[in-house]
Symmetry: C2
Subunit: 787 residues, 2 copies
């Protein structure tokens, strides 16, 4: 891994855009630098900003992780084959397609709900068993003083669970580690990380999350649900499984990136919905991440999948809980119901100010702690990438964390004497008496000795006085560091619940302390816990709209919408000042060309001319096979889209654009040997169908695997029928925000830049746009890895 | 008004697209026909569909209403002035802008909430007064038998209220009539109906809705809130009021269509949010209608406005209700809380089937009744357009409806003897005893003699046995016809609540009848009422995602999400089979070029070549003033966007595209006499700024008001600086769905069609796209009014 340091350029005059001569050269140079074969990685490249902003050299980023990613084509290649098929289809055909889309979404929702249900039940069974065994043991030894045996029992049990979880992740499917949310964000954004939506990944993910939660790690099982939903969607919608080598010959129409991504959005939404009982939040999560052209029917379908998912989970859990029909568990976690009362002892305006103040004040600690969490986790991740990259080391680290978590919890339980009367709390599953008097229980023990979801609910709803302030303080600190250490381990696990738990703990602590001030809006410290939980979660993940809606839906009360939103906003603003969001950090570490939803605000200085890659490798409409094979085999120019041009009589000047063809299409053409000469000789030869492209999707063979003989190299290939004859184009003078808008709104992969006579002068790809980035000191240009 | 009958063309060969020669002629002919001066209106023009679909001549539509509408530019004209301004702006400047956007959204939410609160309180006070007077009167006369005096008193009171409401609407601001939702849908879609977002409209709307609700019409006050929110947004965001002739010199940056439409989205969302206590539903309503490029920060801001709006309403209502801090009224209506229990007496799979069956069965009656409602209302509207177009007639009709409503209610109360024991119902504000025994009340009277919102809640939550089936049946029928007659009157009023009420009545009726069957999922007929209400509302308005979310939020319970969604879906499918949605009908009657979110499915046959208007009127980069004035004054070609071209040496062939300029820009240029010659003579002349365009926005003077002398006509105008140098273009071969997608995703107003050398061959405008429409018999082409 190589980190490249930064060189910088400044524009010559005050407000003039750069001169043409300087610029035509610029991109070409960069292009050359990027393609010279060495693997460049995330680091700070050319630092660039408008003249009036102070220029500063930034230290290059240290970190590094390289992956062979792909890009999704969200723009249909409307070539002749495609148009023919669409035109052949009757209105009834379109209706049938639409119906099968709904059926697929329903299936996605149902299966995702079932998976959530399975995970929940398994975790409950396993943890129940574990707690039972350990509790028996502790109660046996409390008086006798042999508690270290209990500790060892606990630590061993936990480590054993975690070991299983870590082994399957580290050895069988590393991509199933973590929450999977960064990977799904990438997928929805249009970047495909290898193996992320395979069946094997799903199996490892589900088994892994059961093990890690049962192993007592500081993790949640909600994040992985999103990944699981996405895998289910990618599998169901294709009507075949490459892993199982089964093709059900259904849903063949959906075998392309456009449709598949739509279904994966639905799957992710169904996952969120099952995790938090938040169908609307799920839809908004998908929209926020997929963030492309708003499609009404698609959105409604996504919502349908979410609904089905949450309903399935709810229904089967109600059956499992021997209470069929009492549908009160729409998600894996819900926050329970809060009343709607605000304390209004004072005048109207005082109340409003205090209200706003409270919400605004919840944000900064959340943002600060979140930024600290992210920064620590960032360094930890880099450390892991450098030194803990061997699977066995990863398993050992996971086991170590499990043991330490068990030990720390145990020590804290041991030394705390936060005894609380037993009758205060309703429905504690495992109250531990330890050294407390009879009729009392150890509240610290209860917080640790519980499923984290239950602890969150307790912090929200237990009546005032259930927790000692010191307990909460110590708990916050310990849990914070444990959670930070845990995230990024080679286990399948989410960060939502730990974040909520940390936040709820310090929020409740503040709520307990607050009555010393004369002003407050709620009497119940549980509501402050809710605000704290939102602040902490927002400070770590920095999601906006979708997180607000998820929390509102989990709370089940729209009255808390405004406070939650205010606190999430301030947490995000404060957090963003110091450090990026956790998911963004991990996405960045994976060095993928992630295109954000808007161009950086000060990027009007840049035009397509500076942004584009040039010169462009293009093909003629009828091209020699040898040329195509050579260009595709050239590893230094690993292009995926090629403009097709019509040359002038004199081949000197750039030729006129007449289409765009993709690498994958060329490979299928080569594989089927669609050569002009062969077509002439064998008249009966079957015409290539769209089906041939679909059958090869999504794992197109590499060019190396296709054998082309020396004779065939001299044949010609006619691309007319297969190229997209109407690619989107922009003139060279188009400003970056305009290019960005077009690119993002239509989910493009390639945008051809043409001059005023429609001649190709460059190509804007995702990587060209992902480079620009608003840092603290103005616009910065990053260097991305070769993908 | 002229309705043109249909002529049809069929494609010659089976799968071939039409030949070029035939097509270049086609659009030109149509173009000519459309522009020959006669006012064409909605009617069925060329009926066109792919060969394999049976062709059928459809009767031309009868109806007709013509308006001078405008189109919004949702694509920024990135000319030199604009880019200069953007480049001059520092990062801090962008931050400040962003903050002011948030402030504006907060203000929008706050003011919308206040308006909702004002309307609610006024209505409550006025109806309270009215009911009190009438109840006293009835109780006085019940024994005496002089109830006809009570009837007259009631009818007169109601008519008086309605008269005031109708007079202000009919005489002062007709656009304030109805719910305003079709108009706001148009605005968000990009069509601007004149005077729709003015201050005067808001005042009339608010006063009108208070009068019509207080006048006992079968209307709701929820629909108008959406319009009110939109007006507030359009006003606040511009920092000035043209009506009041005040310019506060703030928010000048926001004075363009792009920004204004964003704020209007926020306003509409805030309106929905205040009406139903559904902030998320509001956001989704705006997205569904605005339905353009998904912008994350914008969506979050819209959500903020919604939150503030619902919170403001909730807070002030809690203060008004002497219960400050008990925030239990997030909207003007909420459905109260339902429990989560489903009846599961049978086996699992039976239950699921019954559940699905129930939901699916709720849809068809809703869809059927909705379609009937819409069809009746459609004919009624056409009747009104023809015969009741004078304001005084409109006022008289409104008064007649008010009197009839009062009479019918009274008669039904009089003849029904649906006596119910008084203690069953909690919180009836005005229980009427009439001829019932002591300790009983007349349930029919209560249903009529109540604010409709309260009646809806009663139907949902009153315990089984509160209503007699006959009462419900008669009520459904009467209310159905009254509501249908009322919608479209010249009063400001919504259709949501009447729809809910009709649906709740028949839903509850079904719920009461159901126990005779062995299978049911709920014991409580109130839940069937909820399903019925959703079905009826969905059958009438046919909204999808947003309506589902609005109803879920109004119910406050995610468990009912799936049943609600299923019932809305079936209601929509059934309803769509017979008749369009109510809002769509009214939009169509207004003959505006409404662009739906997706191209009709079978439109891959069409390409930009057939769709575009041609020949195109274009300007040279440096153009003679006389030419510009003449072209702009030409009323037969009322174009709004003109390609700017660079001619070749020989001016014969079509010239190369180099930009796009708008009518509004040209008018500002002419007004400021930005002529090349003048610039040379007066060197000190101030350069035209973006500010000059903003000051003229949005009411650009007509070309006729600009005086250009004979000398000046010979001057030249250099358009380089002012035109958009990088308009979006497509090649001629682009398929209609692709054009549609680009157009819709970027919110374009003009899309230039170019040939392979970037020469202008046509222009696709909104009207060209809005023409194509999927009828029951395939693709149809509509003829739109000259706008």
């Amino acid at each position: 891994t190589v980190a490249s340091s930064a060189s910088s350029t400044l524009y010559p005059s005050d407000r003039d855009p750069p001169t043409v001569s300087g610029l035509v050269k610029g991109p070409a140079q960069r292009d050359h630098a990027q393609r010279k074969g060495s693997k460049l990685i995330w680091g700070l490249g050319k630092h660039w900003n408008p003249p009036h902003v102070a220029m500063k050299h930034l230290k290059p980023l240290k970190s590094v992780q390289l992956r062979g990613t792909g890009i999704l084509d969200y723009d249909n290649s409307e070539n002749q084959l495609f148009l023919e098929e669409e035109r052949r289809m009757s209105y009834l055909g379109f209706r049938c397609l639409e119906i099968s889309r709904w059926v697929v979404c329903g299936l996605i929702g149902f299966l995702t709900g079932l998976i959530a249900c399975f995970i929940d039940i398994m975790v409950e069974q396993l943890t129940g068993l574990k707690y039972y065994v350990v509790k028996e043991n502790i109660e046996k030894f409390t008086a006798g003083g042999g508690l270290s045996i209990s500790l060892i029992l606990w630590a061993v049990l936990n480590s054993a669970f975690v070991m299983v979880g870590a082994i399957i992740v580290a050895f069988f499917e590393p991509i199933a580690g973590g929450s999977g949310i960064p990977q799904i964000k990438c997928y929805l954004n249009g970047v495909k990380i290898p193996r992320v939506v395979r069946l094997k990944t799903l199996l490892v993910k589900v088994a892994g999350v059961i093990c890690s939660v049962a192993g007592g790690l500081v993790v949640g099982k909600e994040g992985p649900m999103i990944h699981s939903g996405a895998v289910v969607a990618a599998g169901v919608s294709q009507g075949r499984s490459t892993s199982l080598k089964r093709d059900f010959k259904i849903f063949e129409y959906f075998r392309r990136d456009t449709e598949k991504r739509d279904f994966v959005s639905a799957g992710a939404a169904a996952g969120v919905s099952a995790a938090f009982g938040a169908p609307v939040g799920g839809v908004l999560f998908s929209l926020e991440e997929a963030a492309s052209y708003w499609n009404q029917m698609l959105t409604w379908r996504i919502f349908f999948a979410s609904m089905i998912s949450t309903f399935t989970l709810n229904f089967f859990l109600s059956v499992y809980n021997k209470n069929p029909g009492e549908l009160s568990n729409p998600g894996l976690i819900n926050f329970g119901s809060f009343d709607r009362n605000f304390l209004l002892r004072n005048r109207l305006w005082v109340v409003i100010s205090v209200f706003v103040l409270t919400c605004e004040c919840g944000g900064p600690p959340g943002g600060l702690l979140g930024a600290l969490f992210n920064a620590l986790n960032y360094w930890l991740t880099i450390f892991r990438i450098r030194y803990i990259h061997r699977p066995c080391l990863q398993v050992m680290e996971a086991m170590l964390v499990a043991a330490v978590t068990a030990t720390v919890s145990f020590i804290m339980i041991y030394f705390s004497n936060a005894c609380q009367p037993l009758d205060v709390v309703q429905g504690e599953d495992y109250p531990l008496q330890l050294y407390c008097d009879d009729g009392e229980y150890n509240s610290m023990a209860t917080t640790f000795f519980n499923r984290p979801e239950k602890s969150v609910q307790n912090l929200f709803h237990n009546p005032p006085g259930s927790y000692h302030p010191l307990t909460l303080g110590v708990f916050t600190i310990t849990y914070f560091f444990l959670a930070c250490w845990t995230y990024g381990l080679a286990v399948s696990a989410g960060v939502f619940i730990p974040s909520l738990l940390i936040g709820a703990a310090w929020g409740r602590l503040i709520g307990i302390m607050l009555p010393v001030f004369p002003l407050q809006i709620w009497a119940d410290p549980g509501k402050y816990a809710l605000i704290g939980a939102a602040a902490q979660l927002g400070g770590i993940v920095r999601m906006t709209l979708s997180l607000t809606v998820i929390l509102i839906e989990a709370t089940g009360n729209v009255t808390y919408g405004l406070p939650l939103m205010l606190v999430l906003m301030t947490a995000k603003i404060v957090g963003d000042y110091f450090e990026e969001g956790l998911y963004d950090i991990h996405i960045k570490l994976q060095s993928v060309p992630f295109v954000h939803s808007e161009a950086p605000p000060t990027s009007h200085w840049l035009t397509a001319r500076e942004v584009m890659s040039s010169p462009v490798t293009s093909f003629n409409r009828v091209e020699r096979v040898g040329t195509i094979v050579d260009l595709l085999s050239n590893t230094s120019t690993n292009h995926n889209g090629f403009p097709v041009v019509v040359s002038n009589a004199n081949g000197e000047e750039p030729a006129k654009l007449c289409g765009l063809i993709l690498r994958s299409q060329l490979i299928v053409l080569l594989k089927h040997k669609v050569f002009v000469e062969l077509a002439r000789s064998k008249l009966t030869r079957r015409k290539l169908q769209l089906k041939d492209f679909r059958d090869a999707y999504p794992r197109f063979p590499p060019i190396q695997s296709i054998h082309v003989s020396q004779d065939e190299r001299e044949c010609m290939m006619d691309l007319t029928e297969f190229m997209n004859p109407t690619p989107y184009t922009v003139p060279q003078e188009t400003s970056l925000p305009r290019v960005y808008k077009l690119f993002r709104a239509l989910g493009l992969r390639h945008l051809v830049v043409v001059d005023d006579s429609n001649r190709v002068v460059g190509l804007v790809t995702r990587k060209d746009l992902a480079r620009y980035h608003l840092g603290k000191h103005g616009l910065e240009e990053l260097q991305l890895a070769q993908t």
